[in-house]
Symmetry: none
Subunit: 159 residues, 2 copies
């Protein structure tokens, strides 16, 4: 297994630590990352987390912009100033920093959600809501499309 998949909810202990799911840790180790890069998502109360490759991808994107325009400055301010490194201890736990709690609303439990090349952390309740929203949007999209084409439904369907 080489990508972040499925989801799990873990509890934050009295010292503010939470176990990163063993499966995610295995992916990180396989890719050679001991430290996590974390960045609050733009439009949802979630924080994206992943290896340094996540930051590299943002920096590559910045490199494509004219460095004297505001867009490049904004992007750097966002991914460097708003991002952070998060350490994972020898037991596979990370301490949840304040900016993650503020951005996500996390207090006592953390929902880890695999996203392929990275994963997200959510407040469990908000994650459940968002999941339903996404499902509803996809269902609607599929119904709209199937009136014209079967593109989203190669065999039995997405849902």
């Amino acid at each position: 297994m080489d990508r972040f998949l499925s989801n799990a909810v873990n509890r934050i202990d009295a010292k503010g630590r939470v176990s990163v799911p063993a499966h995610f840790r295995a992916v990180l180790q396989k890719r050679g990352y001991q430290e996590l890069y974390a960045l609050g998502a733009l439009d949802v109360p979630a924080v994206d987390m992943g290896g340094l490759d996540l930051l590299d991808r943002y920096e590559a994107r910045i490199g494509a912009e004219d460095p004297f325009l505001q867009a490049a400055d904004d992007m750097s301010f966002f991914c460097h100033g708003d991002g952070a490194f998060v350490k994972v201890d020898t037991e596979g736990r990370m301490t949840v920093p304040d900016f993650i709690r503020e951005h996500t609303g996390i207090t006592t439990e953390v929902a880890f959600v695999g996203r392929g090349q990275f994963f997200q952390v959510w407040e469990p309740g908000r994650f459940a809501s968002h999941r339903h929203e996404v499902r509803a949007r996809l269902l609607k999209l599929r119904q709209e499309l199937s009136a014209q084409t079967r593109a989203l439904d190669p065999s039995g369907g997405v849902a």
Copy 2:
């Protein structure tokens, strides 16, 4: 880690000193700089700080300009005349000079903001405001772009 990342707010003591975040100090040491070069940002109430390489980059930028144009003269006047060196003591603290206080509005607390190749100092309140502005601009930019490309979304995904 070899770049300035994440942000932290530290307090100025009675003598006007403030601790440079340990992570930033580690980056400076790795690059071999004991002294900081500081220059007030043009369009925001922040001061850019970094090693001598920061000044080098500014000078390289000046060198790219036609020396007969006023722009080159202005740039040189600005980054040499308005820039300053800031010392870091044995404890990793710097004294906040007056021009930084005036340009940023800093009084009792300093927000250190990583920017990759350099970092910035802000008054914490203004930093928070600017952060929200940047996020709003990027969100808008992303929505405009997503009609054509998913470049800002590392997943390239639906959500």
